[in-house]
Amino acid sequence: MRIERALPLLAVTLSIFIAWYLACIPMNAVLTTPKVAAAGGGLANTLTFSWNEARPVLPAPHQVFREIWNTTFAVEPWSIKSLIYHLWITLSSTLVGFVMGGLLGIILAIGIVHVISLEKSLMPWVIASQTIPILAIAPMLIVVLGKTGLPDIFTKASISTYLCFFPVTIGMVKGLRSPDVMQQDLMRTYNASSAQTLWKLRLPASLPFLFASLKVSVAIALTGAIVAELPTGAVSGIGARLLNGSYYGNTMQIWAALFVAAFAAAILVWLLGEMERQSLKRMGAKA
């Protein structure tokens, strides 16, 4: 990356870290004030104690990064202490939910585009489904699905599916309808069947819309998988780490889990972006 492009990113990152370090001082004051006073006061003592509290309210960045290091590279990757293990648990259900949600979204969109009555009857439900707070519905879904005897991963993934079919449906309905009137007339002059029109015209035309939707979906699929781990009191997964951290007031563990989850989401979105670039290039996109 050229320096001109990296500079704004660096500046923003730097400002965030500065704000973060500064915020640690008032946030941890309730813990540090007596210790600073005992040590004789002064700015140097304030900073040292604020940034190195063993059980801080707000951990400093370097504490979070040390926690990440200690729970990823410093332990066996498949031990219960390892964030990599927990991330994999969450990620696997994210991916299962994402694939199911993506397929569900595409199938719904194809139905809506081809059957006029489906648009009228289905679309309100699709939209209503997203107005229900996921935190309210997740415990019910998990309990109900848990009773069906499905493997746990599908139960958890159902929350991701629930969240991520929606952007795909909306994007694909638009994408499948994106061919212009002339292209649709062209297919009519060939007496093409709906299936042929779908396969040769509508689906290829919808691909850019699909990728835009999938990038949104994969990020919320991860959120869904984390949320799904909360009501069950799961012992493994990023959600379990968050829950565990908040039970024991271990903020560093919470922050470390959040960072790793955010990093994983960024990787997933980037991967989809690469797939998008490759497939659009093969479909003749300019450069």
Binding site: M182, L186, M187, T189, Y190, P204, L207, G284, K286
Partner: protein
């Protein structure tokens, strides 16, 4: 006598719009025989494109009868009786040139796909451009690809809706000449929509002059120029006389306005 390819009696087509009914076509009587090159000419709103779309069964007439190849327009469309060239190339941007020409062949499940593609691309002088994407070609070349695509499944009737309307004068002249050569070689029946007088006179064996509100035919002109035409023919008195008659027809059609 040659077979009738298109025949219309008392054809009418009324669109229902928010502002009430619009009579796009009124009392159209038309017969196109095999091997003819017939042009519809007229100002915008005269129904020339609507008439072509009705022949293609992309619009449905509200009165009168219309037959294509002796069948109803719908049966003709279902039998894939015609190739249609639109105002814009309407190529699928994700398909390379040869794949675009291949599209109707895939849909219709025809054989000799490779042979048909290469023959028709050669016919429009685009051999060697098979592996280009549409955006890599000029507008005129893209339109030639769409003509090759319309001819790919070898329909006897070619319907063309202002195919060169968006192109500049020089490219249009060249394509007009190529189209005449193509017509002479393939012996297709061509129905052609245009709003350019020289284009209509240069290409056609017969010109149908149309006028708006309601869309109707106001003059039918037989063009008795030789079948083999060079661009220079446009300077001859015979050519100018026919062009003049078309212009007069268009003028009378407009006289009630303003």
């Amino acid at each position: 006598m040659a077979a009738q390819v298109v025949s219309a009696q008392d054809l009418g087509l009324t669109f229902q719009t928010g502002d009430g009914a619009v009579e796009a076509l009124s009392k159209i009587n038309l017969a196109v025989t095999e091997g003819e090159f017939v042009s519809f000419i007229g100002p915008s709103g005269c129904g020339k494109t609507t008439l072509l779309r009705a022949i293609a069964n992309l619009e449905v007439p509200t009165s009168g009868t219309l037959t294509v190849n002796g069948m109803s327009a719908e049966q003709a469309r279902l039998a894939r009786a015609y190739g249609y060239v639109f105002q814009a190339p309407a190529l699928l941007p994700w398909r390379k040139v040869d794949d675009n020409v291949r599209l109707p062949l895939e849909i219709m499940g025809l054989d000799d796909v490779a042979g048909r593609v290469s023959r028709n691309l050669e016919l429009v002088n685009l051999a060697g451009f098979e592996k280009k994407f549409p955006w890599q070609l000029s507008g005129g070349m893209q339109q030639r690809v769409s003509i090759a695509r319309a001819l790919a499944f070898d329909p006897h009737l070619l319907l063309m809706d202002e195919p060169f309307g968006a192109l500049d004068e020089i490219v249009r002249d060249k394509l007009n000449q190529q189209l005449l050569e193509l017509w002479a070689r393939t012996k297709k029946t061509i129905v052609f929509v245009t709003h350019s007088i020289p284009e209509a006179v240069f290409l056609s064996t017969r010109i149908i002059v149309m006028s708006p509100r309601p869309g109707r035919i106001i003059d039918v002109i037989d063009v008795d120029l030789p079948k083999q035409r060079k661009l220079e023919i446009r300077e001859t008195p015979e050519f100018l006389k026919i062009a003049h008659r078309v212009r007069e027809g268009l003028k009378t059609g407009h006289s009630y306005e303003d």
